[in-house]
Symmetry: D2
Protein backbone atom coordinates (compact mmCIF):
# COMPACT_ATOMS: atom_id res chain seq x y z
CA UNK A 1 0.00 0.00 0.00
CA UNK A 2 1.09 3.50 -0.71
CA UNK A 3 0.56 6.33 1.72
CA UNK A 4 0.65 8.95 -0.98
CA UNK A 5 -2.22 7.66 -3.06
CA UNK A 6 -5.31 9.83 -3.13
CA UNK A 7 -8.22 9.01 -0.89
CA UNK A 8 -11.36 7.71 -2.54
CA UNK A 9 -13.54 10.60 -3.60
CA UNK A 10 -16.47 11.07 -5.92
CA UNK A 11 -18.90 13.76 -7.00
CA UNK A 12 -22.48 13.06 -8.05
CA UNK A 13 -25.35 15.33 -9.00
CA UNK A 14 -29.00 15.49 -8.07
CA UNK A 15 -31.92 17.89 -8.34
CA UNK A 16 -33.95 19.19 -5.41
CA UNK A 17 -37.35 17.52 -5.50
CA UNK A 18 -40.54 19.39 -4.68
CA UNK A 19 -41.06 16.85 -1.91
CA UNK A 20 -37.77 17.99 -0.37
CA UNK A 21 -38.77 21.65 0.01
CA UNK A 22 -40.52 23.11 3.04
CA UNK A 23 -42.64 26.18 3.63
CA UNK A 24 -39.54 28.39 3.85
CA UNK A 25 -39.04 27.65 0.15
CA UNK A 26 -35.70 25.94 0.61
CA UNK A 27 -34.95 22.25 1.36
CA UNK A 28 -36.07 20.79 4.66
CA UNK A 29 -33.06 20.18 6.89
CA UNK A 30 -33.24 16.38 7.14
CA UNK A 31 -32.95 16.06 3.34
CA UNK A 32 -29.25 16.87 3.67
CA UNK A 33 -28.74 13.49 5.34
CA UNK A 34 -30.58 11.81 2.47
CA UNK A 35 -28.33 13.58 -0.04
CA UNK A 36 -25.28 12.51 2.01
CA UNK A 37 -26.56 8.96 1.51
CA UNK A 38 -26.77 9.52 -2.27
CA UNK A 39 -23.14 10.70 -2.17
CA UNK A 40 -22.00 7.60 -0.24
CA UNK A 41 -23.94 5.28 -2.52
CA UNK A 42 -22.40 6.72 -5.69
CA UNK A 43 -18.86 6.86 -4.24
CA UNK A 44 -19.10 3.17 -3.32
CA UNK A 45 -20.43 2.27 -6.77
CA UNK A 46 -17.65 4.39 -8.33
CA UNK A 47 -14.87 2.46 -6.56
CA UNK A 48 -16.45 -0.84 -7.58
CA UNK A 49 -18.08 -1.71 -4.26
CA UNK A 50 -21.81 -1.02 -4.49
CA UNK A 51 -23.25 -1.04 -0.98
CA UNK A 52 -25.47 -3.98 -1.87
CA UNK A 53 -22.29 -5.95 -2.62
CA UNK A 54 -20.73 -4.89 0.68
CA UNK A 55 -23.78 -6.30 2.46
CA UNK A 56 -23.59 -9.50 0.38
CA UNK A 57 -19.97 -9.88 1.58
CA UNK A 58 -21.28 -9.81 5.15
CA UNK A 59 -20.34 -6.27 6.17
CA UNK A 60 -22.65 -3.54 7.39
CA UNK A 61 -21.89 0.15 7.83
CA UNK A 62 -24.48 1.39 10.35
CA UNK A 63 -24.50 5.12 10.97
CA UNK A 64 -23.27 6.15 14.42
CA UNK A 65 -22.91 9.89 14.01
CA UNK A 66 -23.94 12.61 11.58
CA UNK A 67 -23.15 16.29 11.38
CA UNK A 68 -24.49 18.94 9.02
CA UNK A 69 -23.69 22.63 8.60
CA UNK A 70 -26.25 24.51 6.55
CA UNK A 71 -24.43 27.06 4.41
CA UNK A 72 -26.82 28.29 1.75
CA UNK A 73 -30.19 27.92 0.10
CA UNK A 74 -31.27 25.36 -2.46
CA UNK A 75 -34.67 25.55 -4.07
CA UNK A 76 -36.92 23.19 -5.99
CA UNK A 77 -35.25 21.91 -9.16
CA UNK A 78 -31.83 23.42 -8.34
CA UNK A 79 -29.10 21.08 -9.51
CA UNK A 80 -26.64 20.24 -6.76
CA UNK A 81 -23.23 18.57 -6.73
CA UNK A 82 -22.49 16.23 -3.86
CA UNK A 83 -18.73 15.69 -3.34
CA UNK A 84 -17.90 12.80 -1.01
CA UNK A 85 -14.57 11.64 0.42
CA UNK A 86 -14.07 8.60 2.61
CA UNK A 87 -11.47 7.88 5.27
CA UNK A 88 -10.97 6.01 8.53
CA UNK A 89 -12.25 7.33 11.85
CA UNK A 90 -10.49 5.20 14.44
CA UNK A 91 -9.80 1.54 13.73
CA UNK A 92 -13.25 0.17 13.00
CA UNK A 93 -15.11 3.17 11.65
CA UNK A 94 -15.44 4.96 8.35
CA UNK A 95 -16.00 8.66 7.96
CA UNK A 96 -17.55 10.20 4.85
CA UNK A 97 -17.04 13.94 4.41
CA UNK A 98 -19.56 15.61 2.15
CA UNK A 99 -19.81 19.01 0.50
CA UNK A 100 -22.93 20.04 -1.37
CA UNK A 101 -22.81 22.94 -3.80
CA UNK A 102 -25.01 24.58 -6.40
CA UNK A 103 -23.94 23.39 -9.85
CA UNK A 104 -24.78 26.85 -11.25
CA UNK A 105 -22.42 29.31 -9.57
CA UNK A 106 -20.86 26.94 -7.08
CA UNK A 107 -22.38 28.43 -3.93
CA UNK A 108 -22.08 26.11 -0.97
CA UNK A 109 -25.36 24.60 0.29
CA UNK A 110 -24.31 22.24 3.09
CA UNK A 111 -21.30 20.37 4.38
CA UNK A 112 -20.83 17.73 6.99
CA UNK A 113 -19.94 14.14 7.64
CA UNK A 114 -21.26 10.79 8.70
CA UNK A 115 -19.41 8.20 10.81
CA UNK A 116 -20.20 4.52 10.30
CA UNK A 117 -19.32 1.46 12.32
CA UNK A 118 -17.96 -1.49 10.36
CA UNK A 119 -19.75 -4.59 11.59
CA UNK A 120 -20.34 -8.17 10.60
CA UNK A 121 -23.83 -9.56 10.10
CA UNK A 122 -24.28 -10.10 13.85
CA UNK A 123 -23.52 -6.44 14.53
CA UNK A 124 -20.04 -7.06 15.97
CA UNK A 125 -17.58 -4.25 15.15
CA UNK A 126 -14.71 -5.36 12.95
CA UNK A 127 -11.64 -3.76 11.39
CA UNK A 128 -12.03 -3.00 7.69
CA UNK A 129 -11.12 -6.09 5.65
CA UNK A 130 -8.36 -5.84 3.05
CA UNK A 131 -10.72 -5.63 0.08
CA UNK A 132 -12.43 -2.63 1.66
CA UNK A 133 -9.10 -0.96 2.53
CA UNK A 134 -7.91 -1.42 -1.04
CA UNK A 135 -11.04 -0.23 -2.78
CA UNK A 136 -11.52 2.79 -0.52
CA UNK A 137 -7.82 3.74 -0.52
CA UNK A 138 -7.79 3.72 3.27
CA UNK A 139 -4.45 4.67 4.90
CA UNK A 140 -1.62 2.27 5.66
CA UNK A 141 -2.10 0.29 8.82
CA UNK A 142 -5.76 -0.31 8.36
CA UNK A 143 -6.75 -3.84 7.44
CA UNK A 144 -3.89 -5.48 9.36
CA UNK A 145 -3.36 -9.21 9.27
CA UNK A 146 -6.24 -11.04 10.80
CA UNK A 147 -8.68 -8.20 10.45
CA UNK A 148 -9.65 -8.98 6.85
CA UNK A 149 -12.06 -11.67 5.72
CA UNK B 1 -71.57 -13.22 13.68
CA UNK B 2 -74.01 -10.40 13.29
CA UNK B 3 -74.44 -8.53 10.04
CA UNK B 4 -75.77 -5.47 11.74
CA UNK B 5 -72.82 -4.72 13.98
CA UNK B 6 -70.87 -1.61 13.16
CA UNK B 7 -67.70 -1.83 11.12
CA UNK B 8 -64.42 -1.17 12.90
CA UNK B 9 -63.68 2.51 12.87
CA UNK B 10 -61.34 4.81 14.73
CA UNK B 11 -60.26 8.44 14.78
CA UNK B 12 -56.79 9.59 15.76
CA UNK B 13 -55.15 13.00 15.78
CA UNK B 14 -51.80 14.31 14.62
CA UNK B 15 -50.12 17.63 13.94
CA UNK B 16 -48.60 18.67 10.62
CA UNK B 17 -44.81 18.61 10.98
CA UNK B 18 -42.61 21.27 9.43
CA UNK B 19 -40.93 18.43 7.53
CA UNK B 20 -44.28 17.63 5.93
CA UNK B 21 -44.82 21.06 4.39
CA UNK B 22 -43.59 22.10 0.96
CA UNK B 23 -42.86 25.43 -0.68
CA UNK B 24 -46.56 26.04 -1.36
CA UNK B 25 -46.97 26.32 2.43
CA UNK B 26 -49.30 23.35 2.72
CA UNK B 27 -48.46 19.66 3.20
CA UNK B 28 -46.62 17.83 0.42
CA UNK B 29 -49.00 15.43 -1.31
CA UNK B 30 -47.28 12.12 -0.40
CA UNK B 31 -47.66 12.90 3.33
CA UNK B 32 -51.35 12.02 3.01
CA UNK B 33 -50.36 8.37 2.50
CA UNK B 34 -48.17 8.54 5.61
CA UNK B 35 -51.11 9.94 7.59
CA UNK B 36 -53.34 7.18 6.18
CA UNK B 37 -50.77 4.76 7.67
CA UNK B 38 -51.07 6.50 11.06
CA UNK B 39 -54.84 6.03 10.86
CA UNK B 40 -54.52 2.30 10.05
CA UNK B 41 -51.97 1.77 12.80
CA UNK B 42 -54.16 3.37 15.45
CA UNK B 43 -57.34 1.63 14.28
CA UNK B 44 -55.60 -1.74 14.52
CA UNK B 45 -54.25 -0.93 17.99
CA UNK B 46 -57.74 0.26 18.99
CA UNK B 47 -59.38 -3.07 18.11
CA UNK B 48 -56.68 -4.97 19.97
CA UNK B 49 -54.62 -6.07 16.98
CA UNK B 50 -51.49 -3.93 16.73
CA UNK B 51 -49.94 -4.43 13.31
CA UNK B 52 -46.78 -5.81 14.90
CA UNK B 53 -48.95 -8.56 16.42
CA UNK B 54 -50.60 -9.29 13.07
CA UNK B 55 -47.13 -9.82 11.60
CA UNK B 56 -46.17 -12.02 14.57
CA UNK B 57 -49.23 -14.17 13.81
CA UNK B 58 -47.84 -14.67 10.31
CA UNK B 59 -50.05 -12.32 8.31
CA UNK B 60 -48.94 -9.40 6.16
CA UNK B 61 -51.09 -6.66 4.66
CA UNK B 62 -49.05 -5.33 1.72
CA UNK B 63 -50.50 -2.29 -0.02
CA UNK B 64 -51.79 -2.94 -3.51
CA UNK B 65 -53.67 0.27 -4.27
CA UNK B 66 -53.96 3.77 -2.87
CA UNK B 67 -56.18 6.69 -3.74
CA UNK B 68 -56.19 10.25 -2.40
CA UNK B 69 -58.42 13.23 -3.07
CA UNK B 70 -56.97 16.52 -1.86
CA UNK B 71 -59.80 18.64 -0.49
CA UNK B 72 -58.28 21.48 1.50
CA UNK B 73 -55.17 23.02 2.96
CA UNK B 74 -53.32 22.02 6.11
CA UNK B 75 -50.40 24.04 7.36
CA UNK B 76 -47.52 23.49 9.74
CA UNK B 77 -48.75 22.68 13.27
CA UNK B 78 -52.41 22.36 12.25
CA UNK B 79 -54.05 19.61 14.26
CA UNK B 80 -55.78 17.05 12.06
CA UNK B 81 -58.21 14.24 12.77
CA UNK B 82 -57.78 11.03 10.79
CA UNK B 83 -60.95 8.91 10.71
CA UNK B 84 -60.39 5.37 9.45
CA UNK B 85 -62.86 2.60 8.67
CA UNK B 86 -61.97 -0.89 7.55
CA UNK B 87 -63.86 -3.37 5.42
CA UNK B 88 -63.36 -6.20 2.95
CA UNK B 89 -62.51 -5.58 -0.70
CA UNK B 90 -63.10 -8.93 -2.37
CA UNK B 91 -62.30 -12.15 -0.55
CA UNK B 92 -58.63 -11.69 0.34
CA UNK B 93 -58.23 -7.95 0.56
CA UNK B 94 -58.88 -5.25 3.13
CA UNK B 95 -59.87 -1.70 2.33
CA UNK B 96 -59.27 1.19 4.71
CA UNK B 97 -61.27 4.34 4.01
CA UNK B 98 -59.80 7.50 5.47
CA UNK B 99 -61.04 11.03 5.98
CA UNK B 100 -58.72 13.75 7.24
CA UNK B 101 -60.16 16.96 8.68
CA UNK B 102 -58.98 20.05 10.50
CA UNK B 103 -59.72 19.64 14.21
CA UNK B 104 -60.45 23.38 14.42
CA UNK B 105 -63.47 24.06 12.23
CA UNK B 106 -63.75 20.62 10.70
CA UNK B 107 -62.77 21.55 7.15
CA UNK B 108 -61.92 18.53 5.06
CA UNK B 109 -58.23 18.16 4.11
CA UNK B 110 -58.06 14.84 2.27
CA UNK B 111 -59.96 11.63 1.80
CA UNK B 112 -59.16 8.36 0.16
CA UNK B 113 -58.50 4.71 0.68
CA UNK B 114 -55.87 2.00 0.61
CA UNK B 115 -56.38 -1.61 -0.46
CA UNK B 116 -54.23 -4.32 1.09
CA UNK B 117 -53.66 -7.93 0.18
CA UNK B 118 -53.84 -10.42 3.03
CA UNK B 119 -50.90 -12.78 2.68
CA UNK B 120 -48.98 -15.33 4.69
CA UNK B 121 -45.28 -14.96 5.35
CA UNK B 122 -44.39 -16.39 1.93
CA UNK B 123 -46.52 -13.75 0.21
CA UNK B 124 -49.35 -16.13 -0.74
CA UNK B 125 -52.78 -14.44 -0.65
CA UNK B 126 -55.08 -15.88 1.99
CA UNK B 127 -58.63 -15.27 3.18
CA UNK B 128 -58.82 -13.32 6.42
CA UNK B 129 -58.55 -15.72 9.38
CA UNK B 130 -61.35 -15.80 11.96
CA UNK B 131 -59.48 -13.76 14.56
CA UNK B 132 -59.01 -10.97 12.01
CA UNK B 133 -62.67 -11.13 10.89
CA UNK B 134 -63.81 -10.92 14.51
CA UNK B 135 -61.55 -8.08 15.58
CA UNK B 136 -62.18 -5.98 12.47
CA UNK B 137 -65.94 -6.69 12.44
CA UNK B 138 -65.69 -7.89 8.85
CA UNK B 139 -68.99 -8.95 7.23
CA UNK B 140 -70.51 -12.41 7.47
CA UNK B 141 -69.08 -14.92 5.08
CA UNK B 142 -65.52 -13.79 5.40
CA UNK B 143 -63.22 -16.11 7.28
CA UNK B 144 -64.95 -19.32 6.19
CA UNK B 145 -63.97 -22.71 7.57
CA UNK B 146 -60.43 -23.61 6.75
CA UNK B 147 -59.33 -20.14 5.92
CA UNK B 148 -58.41 -19.16 9.45
CA UNK B 149 -55.02 -19.60 11.04
CA UNK C 1 -53.39 22.36 -34.00
CA UNK C 2 -53.33 18.80 -35.17
CA UNK C 3 -55.38 16.09 -33.52
CA UNK C 4 -53.07 13.35 -34.65
CA UNK C 5 -49.89 14.59 -33.02
CA UNK C 6 -48.56 12.49 -30.21
CA UNK C 7 -49.26 13.45 -26.64
CA UNK C 8 -46.36 14.75 -24.59
CA UNK C 9 -44.54 11.87 -23.00
CA UNK C 10 -41.16 11.36 -21.37
CA UNK C 11 -39.20 8.70 -19.54
CA UNK C 12 -36.68 9.44 -16.83
CA UNK C 13 -34.62 7.20 -14.57
CA UNK C 14 -33.87 7.19 -10.87
CA UNK C 15 -32.40 4.86 -8.27
CA UNK C 16 -34.19 3.72 -5.11
CA UNK C 17 -32.57 5.49 -2.15
CA UNK C 18 -31.95 3.72 1.14
CA UNK C 19 -34.15 6.40 2.72
CA UNK C 20 -37.01 5.24 0.50
CA UNK C 21 -37.02 1.64 1.70
CA UNK C 22 -39.00 0.35 4.66
CA UNK C 23 -38.68 -2.65 6.96
CA UNK C 24 -40.29 -4.93 4.37
CA UNK C 25 -37.17 -4.36 2.24
CA UNK C 26 -39.01 -2.70 -0.61
CA UNK C 27 -39.91 0.98 -1.11
CA UNK C 28 -42.36 2.62 1.28
CA UNK C 29 -45.67 3.24 -0.47
CA UNK C 30 -45.71 7.05 -0.38
CA UNK C 31 -42.40 7.19 -2.29
CA UNK C 32 -44.33 6.30 -5.43
CA UNK C 33 -45.98 9.73 -5.33
CA UNK C 34 -42.55 11.34 -4.99
CA UNK C 35 -41.34 9.40 -8.03
CA UNK C 36 -44.47 10.48 -9.92
CA UNK C 37 -43.37 14.05 -9.14
CA UNK C 38 -39.90 13.32 -10.59
CA UNK C 39 -41.59 12.06 -13.75
CA UNK C 40 -43.76 15.22 -14.08
CA UNK C 41 -40.79 17.49 -13.42
CA UNK C 42 -38.66 15.87 -16.11
CA UNK C 43 -41.52 15.70 -18.64
CA UNK C 44 -42.14 19.43 -18.20
CA UNK C 45 -38.43 20.22 -18.56
CA UNK C 46 -38.31 17.97 -21.64
CA UNK C 47 -41.07 19.90 -23.44
CA UNK C 48 -39.37 23.19 -22.60
CA UNK C 49 -41.61 24.24 -19.73
CA UNK C 50 -39.79 23.66 -16.44
CA UNK C 51 -42.30 23.85 -13.61
CA UNK C 52 -40.46 26.82 -12.11
CA UNK C 53 -41.12 28.66 -15.40
CA UNK C 54 -44.81 27.71 -15.31
CA UNK C 55 -45.03 29.26 -11.85
CA UNK C 56 -43.16 32.37 -13.06
CA UNK C 57 -45.81 32.72 -15.79
CA UNK C 58 -48.43 32.82 -13.05
CA UNK C 59 -49.88 29.32 -13.30
CA UNK C 60 -50.02 26.68 -10.58
CA UNK C 61 -50.86 23.01 -10.93
CA UNK C 62 -52.02 21.94 -7.46
CA UNK C 63 -52.67 18.24 -7.03
CA UNK C 64 -56.33 17.33 -6.59
CA UNK C 65 -56.22 13.56 -6.91
CA UNK C 66 -53.67 10.77 -6.93
CA UNK C 67 -53.93 7.06 -7.58
CA UNK C 68 -51.29 4.33 -7.30
CA UNK C 69 -51.37 0.62 -8.05
CA UNK C 70 -48.46 -1.27 -6.55
CA UNK C 71 -47.40 -3.96 -9.03
CA UNK C 72 -43.99 -5.24 -7.99
CA UNK C 73 -41.01 -4.86 -5.71
CA UNK C 74 -38.17 -2.37 -5.96
CA UNK C 75 -35.23 -2.55 -3.61
CA UNK C 76 -32.46 -0.21 -2.52
CA UNK C 77 -30.31 0.88 -5.47
CA UNK C 78 -32.59 -0.67 -8.11
CA UNK C 79 -32.67 1.54 -11.18
CA UNK C 80 -36.21 2.43 -12.22
CA UNK C 81 -37.69 4.02 -15.33
CA UNK C 82 -40.54 6.46 -14.84
CA UNK C 83 -42.63 6.92 -18.00
CA UNK C 84 -45.00 9.89 -17.85
CA UNK C 85 -47.71 11.02 -20.26
CA UNK C 86 -49.83 14.14 -19.89
CA UNK C 87 -53.35 14.92 -21.08
CA UNK C 88 -56.43 16.92 -20.19
CA UNK C 89 -58.90 15.77 -17.53
CA UNK C 90 -61.92 17.97 -18.07
CA UNK C 91 -61.51 21.57 -19.15
CA UNK C 92 -59.29 23.00 -16.41
CA UNK C 93 -57.35 19.99 -15.22
CA UNK C 94 -54.29 18.07 -16.30
CA UNK C 95 -53.78 14.36 -15.81
CA UNK C 96 -50.35 12.74 -15.71
CA UNK C 97 -50.28 8.97 -16.22
CA UNK C 98 -47.20 7.25 -14.87
CA UNK C 99 -45.70 3.80 -15.22
CA UNK C 100 -42.67 2.77 -13.20
CA UNK C 101 -40.61 -0.24 -14.24
CA UNK C 102 -37.36 -1.93 -13.34
CA UNK C 103 -34.70 -0.92 -15.87
CA UNK C 104 -33.18 -4.40 -15.58
CA UNK C 105 -35.78 -6.87 -16.85
CA UNK C 106 -38.63 -4.41 -17.26
CA UNK C 107 -40.84 -5.73 -14.46
CA UNK C 108 -43.57 -3.31 -13.54
CA UNK C 109 -43.23 -1.66 -10.10
CA UNK C 110 -46.12 0.80 -9.93
CA UNK C 111 -48.55 2.65 -12.13
CA UNK C 112 -51.03 5.39 -11.52
CA UNK C 113 -51.92 8.97 -12.19
CA UNK C 114 -52.21 12.40 -10.68
CA UNK C 115 -54.84 15.02 -11.53
CA UNK C 116 -53.94 18.70 -11.19
CA UNK C 117 -56.04 21.83 -11.21
CA UNK C 118 -54.81 24.66 -13.40
CA UNK C 119 -55.05 27.86 -11.39
CA UNK C 120 -53.79 31.41 -11.44
CA UNK C 121 -51.78 32.85 -8.58
CA UNK C 122 -54.92 33.55 -6.55
CA UNK C 123 -55.98 29.92 -6.79
CA UNK C 124 -58.78 30.51 -9.30
CA UNK C 125 -59.18 27.61 -11.76
CA UNK C 126 -58.46 28.56 -15.34
CA UNK C 127 -58.43 26.81 -18.71
CA UNK C 128 -54.96 25.93 -19.94
CA UNK C 129 -53.44 28.90 -21.79
CA UNK C 130 -52.34 28.47 -25.39
CA UNK C 131 -48.63 28.19 -24.56
CA UNK C 132 -49.39 25.31 -22.22
CA UNK C 133 -51.69 23.59 -24.75
CA UNK C 134 -48.98 23.86 -27.41
CA UNK C 135 -46.08 22.66 -25.31
CA UNK C 136 -47.98 19.75 -23.77
CA UNK C 137 -49.64 18.75 -27.06
CA UNK C 138 -53.05 18.94 -25.41
CA UNK C 139 -56.02 18.02 -27.63
CA UNK C 140 -57.84 20.43 -29.93
CA UNK C 141 -60.39 22.56 -28.21
CA UNK C 142 -58.39 23.20 -25.10
CA UNK C 143 -57.05 26.69 -24.66
CA UNK C 144 -59.92 28.41 -26.46
CA UNK C 145 -59.95 32.12 -27.12
CA UNK C 146 -59.96 34.12 -23.95
CA UNK C 147 -58.81 31.34 -21.74
CA UNK C 148 -55.10 31.85 -22.37
CA UNK C 149 -52.81 34.11 -20.39
CA UNK D 1 -34.03 37.99 35.44
CA UNK D 2 -32.82 35.24 37.66
CA UNK D 3 -29.73 33.22 36.82
CA UNK D 4 -30.80 30.30 38.94
CA UNK D 5 -34.07 29.54 37.21
CA UNK D 6 -34.20 26.31 35.28
CA UNK D 7 -33.70 26.33 31.54
CA UNK D 8 -36.72 25.67 29.36
CA UNK D 9 -37.12 21.97 28.85
CA UNK D 10 -39.90 19.68 27.68
CA UNK D 11 -40.49 16.04 26.89
CA UNK D 12 -42.92 14.84 24.25
CA UNK D 13 -43.76 11.39 22.92
CA UNK D 14 -44.20 9.93 19.47
CA UNK D 15 -44.42 6.53 17.82
CA UNK D 16 -42.14 5.32 15.04
CA UNK D 17 -44.13 5.29 11.81
CA UNK D 18 -43.77 2.51 9.26
CA UNK D 19 -42.73 5.23 6.79
CA UNK D 20 -39.80 6.04 9.07
CA UNK D 21 -38.26 2.55 9.02
CA UNK D 22 -35.74 1.35 6.48
CA UNK D 23 -34.69 -2.07 5.22
CA UNK D 24 -32.47 -2.60 8.27
CA UNK D 25 -35.70 -2.72 10.32
CA UNK D 26 -34.86 0.32 12.42
CA UNK D 27 -35.55 4.01 11.71
CA UNK D 28 -33.82 5.67 8.77
CA UNK D 29 -31.15 8.08 10.04
CA UNK D 30 -32.64 11.35 8.77
CA UNK D 31 -35.85 10.75 10.76
CA UNK D 32 -33.92 11.71 13.91
CA UNK D 33 -33.79 15.31 12.63
CA UNK D 34 -37.55 15.21 12.04
CA UNK D 35 -38.08 13.98 15.61
CA UNK D 36 -35.78 16.74 16.86
CA UNK D 37 -38.17 19.14 15.10
CA UNK D 38 -41.13 17.56 16.93
CA UNK D 39 -39.28 18.13 20.20
CA UNK D 40 -38.61 21.81 19.40
CA UNK D 41 -42.18 22.38 18.28
CA UNK D 42 -43.65 20.95 21.48
CA UNK D 43 -41.15 22.74 23.74
CA UNK D 44 -42.05 26.07 22.13
CA UNK D 45 -45.78 25.36 22.47
CA UNK D 46 -45.18 24.31 26.10
CA UNK D 47 -43.57 27.65 27.04
CA UNK D 48 -46.38 29.55 25.34
CA UNK D 49 -44.57 30.47 22.14
CA UNK D 50 -45.78 28.22 19.33
CA UNK D 51 -43.36 28.54 16.41
CA UNK D 52 -46.15 29.90 14.22
CA UNK D 53 -46.50 32.76 16.70
CA UNK D 54 -42.74 33.40 16.68
CA UNK D 55 -42.93 33.77 12.91
CA UNK D 56 -45.97 36.06 13.23
CA UNK D 57 -43.88 38.26 15.54
CA UNK D 58 -41.33 38.57 12.75
CA UNK D 59 -38.63 36.20 13.97
CA UNK D 60 -37.26 33.17 12.18
CA UNK D 61 -35.05 30.43 13.57
CA UNK D 62 -33.32 28.90 10.51
CA UNK D 63 -31.20 25.85 11.19
CA UNK D 64 -27.48 26.39 10.81
CA UNK D 65 -26.07 23.21 12.29
CA UNK D 66 -27.29 19.77 13.32
CA UNK D 67 -25.60 16.88 15.05
CA UNK D 68 -26.90 13.38 15.79
CA UNK D 69 -25.40 10.43 17.63
CA UNK D 70 -27.20 7.17 17.00
CA UNK D 71 -27.25 5.18 20.25
CA UNK D 72 -29.76 2.39 19.87
CA UNK D 73 -32.48 0.84 17.77
CA UNK D 74 -36.09 1.91 17.45
CA UNK D 75 -38.56 -0.14 15.47
CA UNK D 76 -41.97 0.43 13.91
CA UNK D 77 -44.57 1.41 16.50
CA UNK D 78 -42.03 1.80 19.35
CA UNK D 79 -43.04 4.68 21.57
CA UNK D 80 -40.23 7.19 22.05
CA UNK D 81 -39.73 10.09 24.43
CA UNK D 82 -38.07 13.21 23.03
CA UNK D 83 -36.54 15.41 25.75
CA UNK D 84 -35.56 18.87 24.53
CA UNK D 85 -33.71 21.69 26.30
CA UNK D 86 -33.00 25.10 24.84
CA UNK D 87 -30.20 27.55 25.51
CA UNK D 88 -28.12 30.24 23.85
CA UNK D 89 -25.23 29.44 21.52
CA UNK D 90 -23.38 32.71 21.16
CA UNK D 91 -25.29 35.99 21.10
CA UNK D 92 -27.70 35.48 18.23
CA UNK D 93 -28.18 31.74 18.13
CA UNK D 94 -30.27 29.17 19.95
CA UNK D 95 -29.21 25.63 20.65
CA UNK D 96 -31.68 22.82 21.27
CA UNK D 97 -30.26 19.70 22.92
CA UNK D 98 -32.31 16.57 22.36
CA UNK D 99 -32.31 13.09 23.86
CA UNK D 100 -34.54 10.37 22.44
CA UNK D 101 -35.26 7.27 24.50
CA UNK D 102 -37.52 4.23 24.37
CA UNK D 103 -40.51 4.81 26.64
CA UNK D 104 -40.48 1.09 27.54
CA UNK D 105 -37.21 0.41 29.32
CA UNK D 106 -35.61 3.79 28.78
CA UNK D 107 -32.87 2.68 26.37
CA UNK D 108 -31.30 5.59 24.56
CA UNK D 109 -32.05 5.83 20.82
CA UNK D 110 -30.37 9.05 19.70
CA UNK D 111 -29.05 12.30 21.08
CA UNK D 112 -27.83 15.48 19.50
CA UNK D 113 -28.52 19.13 18.98
CA UNK D 114 -29.53 21.74 16.48
CA UNK D 115 -28.24 25.32 16.31
CA UNK D 116 -30.52 28.02 14.93
CA UNK D 117 -29.84 31.58 13.86
CA UNK D 118 -32.27 34.20 15.15
CA UNK D 119 -33.19 36.43 12.26
CA UNK D 120 -35.77 39.02 11.30
CA UNK D 121 -38.01 38.57 8.29
CA UNK D 122 -35.28 39.83 5.93
CA UNK D 123 -32.87 37.18 7.20
CA UNK D 124 -30.71 39.59 9.20
CA UNK D 125 -29.33 38.01 12.41
CA UNK D 126 -30.64 39.61 15.57
CA UNK D 127 -30.19 39.15 19.32
CA UNK D 128 -33.06 37.35 20.99
CA UNK D 129 -35.78 39.87 21.94
CA UNK D 130 -36.86 40.14 25.58
CA UNK D 131 -40.06 38.15 25.11
CA UNK D 132 -38.05 35.25 23.70
CA UNK D 133 -35.45 35.48 26.50
CA UNK D 134 -38.19 35.43 29.10
CA UNK D 135 -40.22 32.59 27.66
CA UNK D 136 -37.21 30.38 26.95
CA UNK D 137 -35.51 31.17 30.28
CA UNK D 138 -32.36 32.21 28.43
CA UNK D 139 -29.43 33.28 30.65
CA UNK D 140 -28.90 36.80 31.96
CA UNK D 141 -27.31 39.16 29.51
CA UNK D 142 -29.18 37.92 26.50
CA UNK D 143 -31.79 40.23 25.12
CA UNK D 144 -29.99 43.45 26.09
CA UNK D 145 -31.60 46.83 25.70
CA UNK D 146 -32.42 47.68 22.17
CA UNK D 147 -32.36 44.19 20.82
CA UNK D 148 -35.89 43.23 21.78
CA UNK D 149 -39.05 44.76 20.38
Amino acid sequence: MDDSRPVATHTTRLRVRYSETDQMGTFYNSRALEWFECGRTELLRHVGLPYTEIEERGLHLPLVEAHVEYRGRARYDDELSVATTVGLAGRARLRFNVEIRQVAGGAEVARGYTVHAITNTTGKPTRPPTWLVEKLHLPNGAGLAGTGE
